[in-house]
């Protein structure tokens, strides 16, 4: 009985995880289009209906990202075998005995883990830069700095998300 409940619970989390991931992907796509289209294609600042859509999807994306971070973080911990070269350096420095070397299966998630943590890391300046600008704390010069921070962090963030998604897809395909 306990086993049945446990299985059902896990599947609910899985469903939520999948749902959050899909909503996050959709939100990301909307945010990227509404954010980059006026700036990169039209050469203008984001404004009009685009800014409204952008601001509507931003909190949705933030919530999904926070949820996914919580549920994925444990799986994306770096393990000893993720970087054998580092392990070897440490062994030489400390003269400690290392493990038996990692199998290729375990090393395959490294890129995914790095991009995951990069996403989490970049999400902070991305969200906080625009959030800070909404409070009467900083003057025009800093407002412009915050907008630039938001913009350039967004470029890197988008690239990392795309790489992460591709790696995830490749891994799924391999499985």
């Amino acid at each position: 009985m306990a086993r049945t409940i446990s299985t059902r619970k896990r599947s609910l989390v899985d469903v939520l995880r999948l749902l959050a991931y899909l909503v996050a992907l959709l939100s990301f796509a909307v945010l990227a289009v509404t954010g980059f289209y006026p700036v990169l294609i039209l050469g203008e600042h984001i404004s009009g209906y685009l800014v409204m859509v952008h601001a509507t999807f931003a909190p949705v994306f933030a919530v999904c990202l926070a949820f996914l971070t919580v549920v994925w973080a444990r799986n994306c911990q770096f393990a000893q075998g993720d970087w054998p070269w580092f392990d070897r350096i440490v062994q030489r420095v400390t003269l400690a005995r290392g493990g038996d070397g990692e199998s290729p299966r375990k090393r395959s998630g490294l890129g995914q883990k790095i991009t995951f943590w990069l996403i989490v890391l970049l999400a902070l300046p991305l969200a906080l830069s625009i959030l800070l600008s909404m409070y009467p704390l900083l003057g025009t010069h800093w407002q412009e700095f915050l907008l630039s921070t938001h913009r350039y962090t967004a470029y890197v963030f988008a690239l990392v998300v795309i790489v992460h998604t591709l790696l995830l897809r490749r891994m799924k395909a391999k499985k």
Binding site: H45, S47, G48, Y49, M52, A55, T56, A58, P59, A62, V63, L65, A66, T69, V70, A73, Q77, F78, Q80, V90, T94, A96, R97, W117, V120, L121, A123, L124, A127, L128, I130, L131, S133, M134, Y135, P136, L137, L138, G139, T140, Q143, E144, L147
Partner: protein
């Protein structure tokens, strides 16, 4: 080949001729420049002290080809006529009048002068004919030339000269046979230097015998002297018949025996010293009080409609005067102070004299120029920079705090404030509304004053030509003879029936080439073939005229947006959703338009954007909460990783 040679020869000949013409033009220009010799007061020697003005008074001669007359108070009045001094000749002894008359306040009659940003028009009003039109000699889109309404320079000066410093239309030589003698009797309205530069508190612009009254009496020649505080002028040139000669003592004596006295001047005692010189208290920097005579605003219905309850512009209270920003040299090329003016102005500090010029510093300057005159450099904390691209500084800082409906606004020039017998009723025409937030030619939104034109005209080839006021008055006054006109000076209540009758009467006159129309409240009324009245909305001729307002600057803690974004981005914020009443004598058309219509912004978009601010605090909480979770997770695993590193470095096998 032959043809080519001929063409080449022709071109060479052309080049030689063009070169010769250029050299000739340069020589002529150099010669002209040499003839514009500088007078004593044209160029400063660098002293900031005020020069003493103890000078001889000179009067204009009857015959302009002759030299000026020296004013001698001891003449025999039976042999000579005591003349009013002329600023043109008296001040012109040391200051080049020809240069000064090219200045902004006087050059409006010159069609070659760049009109610049639309400014305040003169507004002709006649409630009895349902007329309210913005007039200007300058080519400001939406205004009409006085000539279009049959107003000659002389008539224009008589109506509006009261709040000008003279010159301009007032000193144009008339070629109208009906007005040649009138101009000889009245004289020309010279530039009245004293209107601005007289530091004497007796300078009388709006008193019962002051400048404005003298102009309404047609005493153009006497106006400057009468207002100077040095003399008293009685009588009216307007009352004199065409045969009257103001330089003939006998004519004056004869006219003086009649009921309507001729214009005469009496200089006050002790004005002249022993050498018949007169002291003028001339100030180089014009006091703001002098500017106020023509440039006062009254916002009826605002909390501070009364002067004592109303704060002045924050710059004046900080100790600046009007001329600290609106600077000019001997050329009197006044800085108007708007962004972009430097592109057409030859006045050097123009770029540095706008809001940005003082507060932010001129971007093109190599030296630091921000904070001129002690101007604080604004921080604009929390204000997204996009606002600087979309709005002028004045949008948030100038005029009264916007209300649900723009204020009925009175101005000196439109309502002759400060002159005798002003109708103080709030509904006195013309009806100016402000602040109306509208998009300017440069694409930015700025607060404006607004007036809806109302006039009778003729529709020809889709264009409306105004009908001369004289012709309109005759016809329309008869049609509206039985109507009651409010003593407040407000519109009479017109109906479709009135307009139908009036248009029929105008058409019946037979002198109109085209269809008689009435433009009012944004509509163009005309009669169709069956004689039925039809009103066409949004006709270009019926568009309101708007001009930017920039003064009554509020301090930063009273700027729009100081409380929250919803000062403007609220679903009922006046900035977007204020109701601008359509002003017209036609009762049925007195509706309102939303402010967004003047801003060229989609009404739904403005509302939706404003509505999104309802959720803005929630969005902030959600994003902040999510960021906190991300930060905590990150921190947790960073610490965990650090623990691993510490263990490894400590030699523990994890």
């Amino acid at each position: 080949m032959y043809s080519g040679e001929r063409t080449e020869r022709t071109l060479t000949k052309g080049r030689v001729s063009a070169g010769f013409l250029c050299v000739l033009a340069l020589c002529l220009a150099a010669g002209a420049a040499r003839t514009e010799r500088k007078l004593l007061g044209d160029e400063s020697d660098g002293s900031r002290a005020q020069p003493l003005h103890r000078i001889e008074l000179l009067a204009a001669p009857g015959d302009e080809s002759k030299g000026p007359l020296t004013v001698d108070p001891n003449i025999d009045p039976k042999a000579e006529v005591l003349q009013p001094f002329s600023t043109r000749y008296t001040c012109g002894m040391c200051h080049s009048y020809a240069i000064i008359k090219r200045g902004w306040h006087f050059n409006y009659v010159d069609p070659n002068v760049d009109p610049g940003r639309p400014g305040q028009p003169w507004i002709y009003v006649d409630a009895r004919t349902g007329t309210q039109v913005p007039l200007s000699y300058r080519a400001w889109p939406g205004t009409f030339k006085p000539k279009q309404f049959g107003l000659t320079d002389r008539v224009f000066t008589k109506i509006f000269g009261r709040q000008t410093p003279g010159g301009g239309a007032g000193e144009q030589t008339t070629d109208n046979p009906d007005e040649i003698m009138r101009q000889y009797i009245s004289g020309k309205l010279d530039i009245n230097c004293l209107s601005c530069h007289n530091g004497d508190p007796r300078q009388d612009q709006g008193g019962p015998a002051g400048y404005a009254v003298q102009i309404s009496r047609g005493n153009f020649r006497w106006a400057a002297a009468a207002s100077s505080g040095l003399a008293l002028v009685k009588g009216s040139a307007e009352d004199m018949d065409d045969a009257y000669d103001p330089f003939d003592p006998f004519a004056i004596e004869t006219a003086g025996t009649g009921k309507k006295p001729p214009p005469t001047i009496t200089y006050h005692k002790n004005v002249f010293d022993r050498e018949n010189f007169v002291f003028f208290d001339i100030v180089r920097e014009v006091p703001s009080n002098r500017c106020y005579f023509c440039h006062s605003n009254l916002y009826v219905g605002s909390d501070g409609a009364e002067k004592w309850a109303c704060d002045e512009d924050v710059h004046l209270k900080a100790g600046l005067t009007c001329v600290d920003c609106h600077r000019e040299g001997i050329a009197h090329n006044t800085i108007r102070g708007y962004i972009g003016e430097q592109e057409t102005s030859t006045n050097e500090p123009t770029a540095a004299s706008s809001c940005e010029g003082c507060h932010l510093g001129e971007s093109s300057s190599s030296d630091p120029v921000a904070g001129r005159l002690g101007a604080p450099v604004p921080e604009h904390r929390g204000l997204p920079p996009v606002h600087f691209e979309r709005l002028t500084c004045t949008a948030c800082h100038s005029g009264p705090w916007p209300a649900a409906q723009p204020y009925v606004t009175k101005t000196s020039m439109a309502h002759r404030l400060g002159t005798p017998n002003v109708n103080k009723a709030s509904q006195m025409l013309p009806h100016i509304a402000s602040p109306v937030f509208a998009r300017q030619a440069d694409g930015k939104i700025a607060p404006h004053k607004l007036i809806w034109p109302s006039f009778w005209g003729v529709l020809r080839d889709g264009k409306v030509e105004p009908t001369a006021l004289g012709a309109v008055t005759k016809v329309i006054t008869d049609v509206l003879a039985k109507e009651k006109f409010p003593s407040s000076g407000d519109w009479p209540d017109l109906t479709a029936d009135h307009i139908t009758k009036a248009l029929t009467a105008l058409a019946a006159g037979g002198s109109l080439e085209g269809k008689a129309v009435y433009v009012t409240g944004g509509r163009l009324y005309s009669l169709d073939d069956s004689g039925q009245l039809r009103g066409e909305k949004d006709h270009p001729a019926a568009k309101p005229y708007l001009w930017p307002l920039a003064h009554e600057v509020r301090p930063a803690p009273q700027a729009l947006g100081i409380r929250y974004c919803t000062d403007c981005h609220g679903t009922d914020a006046p900035f977007f959703f204020g109701n601008v009443t359509v002003d017209t004598p036609v009762v049925a058309d007195r509706q309102a338009q939303k402010m967004v219509q003047f801003e060229d912004i989609n009404s739904f978009y403005a509302w939706a954007f404003a509505f999104s601010f309802v959720f803005r605090p929630w969005m902030k909480i959600v994003v902040l909460g999510s960021s906190a979770v991300l930060a905590l997770v990150l921190l947790f695993y960073v610490l965990k990783a650090l623990g691993c590193v510490v263990k490894v470095l400590a030699g523990e096998n994890s």
